[in-house]
């Protein structure tokens, strides 16, 4: 039951996308998100989807895994599409008119758009970032990108370290939970039957030991870090320096160029009647 968490998971690989500098990937992802919201014409959207398909193909991550990662957003996507379908009023005559339901052609368009927008948003960010970047690289890159904030007194290194530790302990906690659940099951605990209140109550014997062991682990970790003379970010050097290579710069520039093109093309396509609200 706890083994099926794919959201935010890293899948090891050797693709060009895996080897890309994580900073370039973070900037690329931000750009991508902006583009998803700026693309408002059919041709622009088609271009964006084409770019997404190329990214997926390059990443070497199987389609099955990508689709599996969509599971958590299926409900939201479907809900948004349905709301758009029924509640978008159009100018012409409705296609279907039944009781209080009126479906306009504009409704169908915007439902499809919303669906595509949400799905491409999730697929794009996960393929470009979380599936192909190790959590450690991710926090390293974030630390570097947020470095300027240090001058206004934000403890960037400390935040990055907290994030690294949190990510590092997710699998450990999952394993620990499974272990404690098994131990309580062996003592006759029942997590599967009864109403909601009983089920929530049955989790107490799992949550208390879990909290206690987490606190103990945090204490141990703090002591271990202090024993190795960790004292925060000041004067700290890194073992693995991030270096922007030619490929990373090329990726960023081509992606940015693609975005600029997409943005300025919208009015042009709009004048041809492809515009979507």
């Amino acid at each position: 039951m706890l083994k099926d968490v794919t959201l935010g998971q890293y899948f090891p690989g050797q693709s060009p996308l895996h080897r890309l500098d994580p900073r370039a990937k973070i900037l690329g992802t931000i750009l991508y998100i902006v583009l998803v919201f700026f693309a408002r014409s059919f041709p622009a959207y088609a271009a964006l989807l084409a770019a997404l398909i190329v990214l997926c193909a390059v990443s070497g991550i199987s389609l099955k895994l990508i689709l599996k990662g969509l599971k958590p957003v299926v409900f939201i996507a479907a809900f948004t599409a349905i709301v758009n379908l029924f509640w978008t009023a159009g100018e012409g005559a409705p296609l279907v008119e039944f009781w209080i339901v009126r479906i306009y052609p504009e409704g169908i368009y915007s439902a499809i758009f919303m669906l595509l927008r949400i799905l491409s948003l999730v697929i794009g960010t996960s393929v470009l970032l979380t599936y192909t970047t190790t959590p450690m690289d991710l926090t390293d890159a974030l630390e570097r990108l947020l470095k300027p904030l240090k001058f206004i007194g934000v403890p960037v290194h400390e935040f990055a370290m907290m994030m690294t530790i949190a990510l590092r302990f997710v699998p450990t906690l999952v394993e620990e939970t499974q272990k404690i659940m098994n131990a309580q099951k062996a003592r006759g605990a029942d997590f599967e039957s009864g109403n909601l209140i009983r089920r929530v109550k049955s989790l107490i014997p799992v949550l208390i030991p879990l909290f206690i062991s987490s606190f103990r682990r945090a204490d141990d970790l703090a002591i271990a870090m202090e024993c190795r003379c960790y004292h925060g970010g000041k004067g700290r050097t890194r073992m693995k320096e991030l270096h922007l290579r030619f490929g990373d710069v090329l990726f960023l520039f081509s992606f940015a160029a693609f975005g600029v093109l997409l943005y300025f093309s919208t009015p042009f396509f709009a004048s041809m009647g492809f515009y979507i609200k």
Partner: protein, 282 residues
């Protein structure tokens, strides 16, 4: 209860993923009623997997587990019923304690089994006695106890369920010699008191096995290497070495003495002392 039989049991972790790992291969054995059987093997040989399968927490990928001749997974909905008759003590069980007092925590198991309050009180007190958890400790919070005391309280929590088959996974791991003897001695006292209780003791300490186990099952990389009485296994140093284990020093000495014509089957220091004194006298 209870004859427990493994029939060609295999178990694979994370099957069909890149993390696939075959933990048990075609494992068959029978646990004799009323005996303490030791399960020994090198780290990662599948000992703990056997414990999980026995308690129905995982389902074997192949083969069957028979309890009194009935397949444990015949009706998956009824596994919980069978689990009531089996007590499983996990490795480092002290991390499962959660109640306000030790007494309440020990009572968690029997309460889940639906026993009456009177029965629960008797069960809790007798279980606490076996592993040496005194009356004063019962009223304390489990988080105030020392590591060894917490371990004993956790084991008492399983003993209080009065299981017909008791499975202990490394119950003495990480304890000092005194603590080890207390816990294992307590388990033995429990078994003596309640007759016909079957015990499966998982450990890689051959010293403990020599003192507490009647039979031994030796595992190597998920496969059965040998199943026989403890004495038989101790007379086969080659086997023990193959499983990646070390015989106690005393056994190695007596095995060397064996070669010189001194009778076989000496496993503990006490037995060796008696035997050597006998020789000296004559």
């Amino acid at each position: 209860m209870s004859v427990v039989t493994f029939e060609h049991v295999g178990y694979t972790y994370s099957a069909k993923t890149p993390f696939e790992h075959e933990a048990l291969k075609d494992l068959s054995f029978t646990l004799q009623e009323g005996r303490v059987t030791g399960l020994v093997g090198h780290t990662g040989c599948g000992k703990s997997t056997v414990a999980m399968l026995l308690d129905g927490l995982e389902r074997p990928t192949s083969g069957r587990i028979l309890i009194d001749g009935r397949d444990l997974w015949e009706e998956p909905k009824k596994v919980r019923e069978i689990r009531r008759r089996i007590g499983l003590v996990f490795q480092y069980p002290e991390y499962q304690l959660f109640e306000e007092t030790v007494e309440k925590d020990i009572a968690f198991g029997p309460r889940n089994l639906g026993k009456s309050e009177d029965e629960i009180r008797t069960l809790v007190h007798s279980a606490a006695q076996f592993v040496g958890v005194g009356e004063d400790l019962l009223k304390k919070s489990p988080f105030e106890l020392s590591g060894g005391e917490r371990r004993r309280a956790a084991i008492a929590g399983v003993l209080a369920m009065d299981p017909e088959l008791l499975v202990l996974d490394e119950p003495a791991a990480g304890l000092d010699p005194r603590g080890r003897a207390d816990i294992l001695g307590g388990v033995c006292a429990y078994r003596r008191e309640k007759q016909n209780r079957t015990v499966l003791l998982i450990s890689h300490s051959m010293e403990d096995m020599a003192r507490f186990a009647d039979d031994l099952i030796v595992l190597k990389e998920g496969e059965l290497l040998f199943h026989g009485t403890t004495k038989e296994v101790f007379c086969r140093p080659d086997l023990v070495r193959e499983a990646g284990l070390a015989l106690p020093q005393i056994t190695r000495i007596t095995n060397a003495l064996c070669d010189l014509g001194i009778p076989e089957g000496i496993t503990t220091t006490e037995e060796a002392a008696i035997e050597i004194l006998k020789r000296l006298d004559s």
